[in-house]
């Protein structure tokens, strides 16, 4: 049997929009089968994963603050992935943003007088830290031709170990009974809350603003145009004289800055101090979010909410149904695989030719 792929002459917009939804439904079916194989009711699991988190104000806020870093990182990554450049080290850039931005928060602990500059400085330093850390693989790629995939990934481990060292060593709270964490930040070093309940912090607003900006940049600027052309047709981009090197540096800078900003928002928002680990893998999950959202800011917003929902739901399922957290991760990986597969179905006409050689 042979499987033939013929590129579709005109891609249907409806099919393009439907394919991630179809993939999501397929992932739901497989997930349901796994849940029943584990001896639980798929219906109950569905309610715990996808309905229960939406039913209460506090869990809705939880979904929003989980979705914000995912959307922020994924928006930055979309610039990379659209240009066929592979920054898979966003997790490390997130950690560096949190570490260096948070350092300001630790250093200004107990400062008196006018402290209105502390929070803006933290956000700027965090963003720059992520940006600079992302430039390491970008420069190695541009100057020496070293695969950015491998270097950006290796730097994740380095960043995590550096944070671990700093939080247990130099930045540890001396009056903290040897707990491996820094002093809690002052009020001036915390993102303000947007709602009662001390959950929904201003990081969500930051993410929304960046998403809006990214939409404008992608649709209305030369840089956005360059990214889109390189992704759609590298050959055409070379003829147009777009510089590969400059683009690589630029998209790494954008994605690193976004990840760094997400990192410091998480530290100054939800956590409020430095700890040996500040991310439950946002940088990697954001890769799923970016593809699930078809690399467009609006799609990414929706995808981030869906993935955040499954994460919150996964925590609920662990408590209520004793379903392991790894189920959520497996579900997310399967979802990404199915999205990529469904994408092929919308790009190509697939035909089975029985009896022919492969």
């Amino acid at each position: 049997m042979r499987i033939d792929l013929t590129p579709r002459a005109n891609r249907s917009a409806l099919l393009d929009a439907l394919s991630p939804i179809l993939a999501f439904l397929a992932a739901l079916v497989v997930g349901g089968l796994v849940v029943s194989a584990l001896g639980r009711s798929p219906a109950a699991a569905f309610v715990t994963y996808f309905v229960a988190p939406l039913s209460e104000v506090w869990s809705l806020q939880e979904v929003a603050i989980k979705a914000a870093p995912l959307a922020l990182i994924a928006t930055g990554l979309a610039f990379c992935f659209r240009a066929n450049i592979w920054n898979i080290g966003a997790e490390g850039q997130f950690v560096m943003g949190g570490l260096f931005g948070g350092w300001i928060g630790v250093a200004t602990h107990g400062a008196t007088g006018n402290t209105a500059w502390v929070l803006p400085l933290m956000l700027v330093v965090g963003t720059l830290a992520g940006l600079l850390y992302a430039l390491i693989p970008a420069l190695l790629k541009v100057r020496l031709g070293v695969s950015e995939i491998l270097t950006s990934l290796m730097l994740v481990y380095v960043a995590e170990l550096l944070l671990d060292y700093m939080a247990r060593g130099p930045l540890r709270d001396p009056a903290g009974f040897n707990f491996p964490q820094s002093v809690p930040f002052d009020e001036a070093a915390r993102l303000p809350y947007l709602m009662e309940g001390d959950t929904l912090h201003a990081g969500v607003a930051i993410a929304l603003v960046v998403l809006g900006l990214a939409t404008l940049v992608l649709a209305r600027t030369l840089f956005g145009f360059t990214v889109r052309v390189v992704g759609a047709s590298p050959r055409a981009a070379r003829f147009a004289g777009f510089s590969d090197a400059r683009l690589t540096l630029a998209v790494f800078a954008v994605s690193g800055a976004a990840a760094g900003l997400a990192g410091i928002s998480e530290v100054a928002g939800r956590i409020g101090q430095l700890q040996p680990s500040i991310s439950p893998g946002y940088g990697f999950t954001a890769i799923i979010v970016a593809f699930l959202g078809r690399l467009s800011p609006v799609g990414i917003l929706v995808a981030a909410l869906v993935i955040a929902l499954t994460t919150i739901g996964g925590e609920g399922a662990q408590i209520d149904l004793k379903l392991p957290l790894d189920l959520t991760r497996a579900f997310q990986g399967l979802l990404l695989a199915l999205v990529l597969g469904a994408d092929a179905l919308s790009r190509y006409r697939v035909r089975l030719v029985p009896g022919a050689a492969a």
Binding site: L150, Y157, L336, A337, D343, V350, A358
Partner: protein, 308 residues
Amino acid sequence: MSLDILQMVLVTIVAAATPLMIAALGEVVVERAGVLNLGVEGMMVLGAATGFAVAVETGSTLVGAAAGAGAGLALSALFGLLTVVLSANQVASGLAMTILGLGLSGLVGASYVGLKRAPAPHLDLPGLTDLPGIGRLVFGQDGFVYFAFALAAGGWWFLWRTRTGLILRAIGDDHTATHALGLQVRTVRFRAVLFGGACAGLAGAYLSLSYTPFWAPAMTAGRGWIALALVVFASWRPLRVLAGALLFGGATVLQLNAQAAGIGLPGQLLSALPYLATILALVLLSLGRRQGGSLAPASLGRVFTPHR
């Protein structure tokens, strides 16, 4: 240093190098066929969990190792379906396999955390294994180690001395031309992907059945990614993979010993060394061949769709 201490050090280096060797040798074949499989880490960790679980249930290390390889192969079949059959993006699909593999391994291994079983049996030849200085190193390893070395020799022979190997390398260098010649681009690539997945799974099984020997979540700790870097480092040549893996194994052992000896450096810095060494190795390698151009298979990572 006495001969026996030297031998002990070499034995630990070989043990640390073996999983890298097996996974990287599989990936060499995959990449020579023109497919970039970034799912090695996921296939490895799934192989580790499945291998350990099956070995505990059946009581047989051999069956466990086979199951580990089978798990890696199953995950790579999904990868092959996406990338080779449906022409999906290889980088993104590989990442999906890594995330999926990490999740699935957690599910498979959940009820085996904390269990311990005897490590895979080592070769014991009366007379030879007890030879001072080299007996344990040459005649006292477990089956995985001998398999890894056989795999390197076999991989070299297959890629450079057989017709099928020549076809595989040609497909990796130019899928359009080989397709026009009537060669089965997608069949060859799919088989190469399956082989690489089985190797990654086996490498994971070595970790949980022989190296540690127990199962812990995410126990591969980036070894799959280091294996991928090793393939670049070895310029896609099996015998250089062997040398590179031993070098990396040496770095790992050095780091572990330095950590145990407590030489005053923070443990986190020492733990970061293998990753920093990987980056450094890639940098030095590309510095060394500024003029030569890339040695990578020319079609590596490119999407192939046969148009008729």
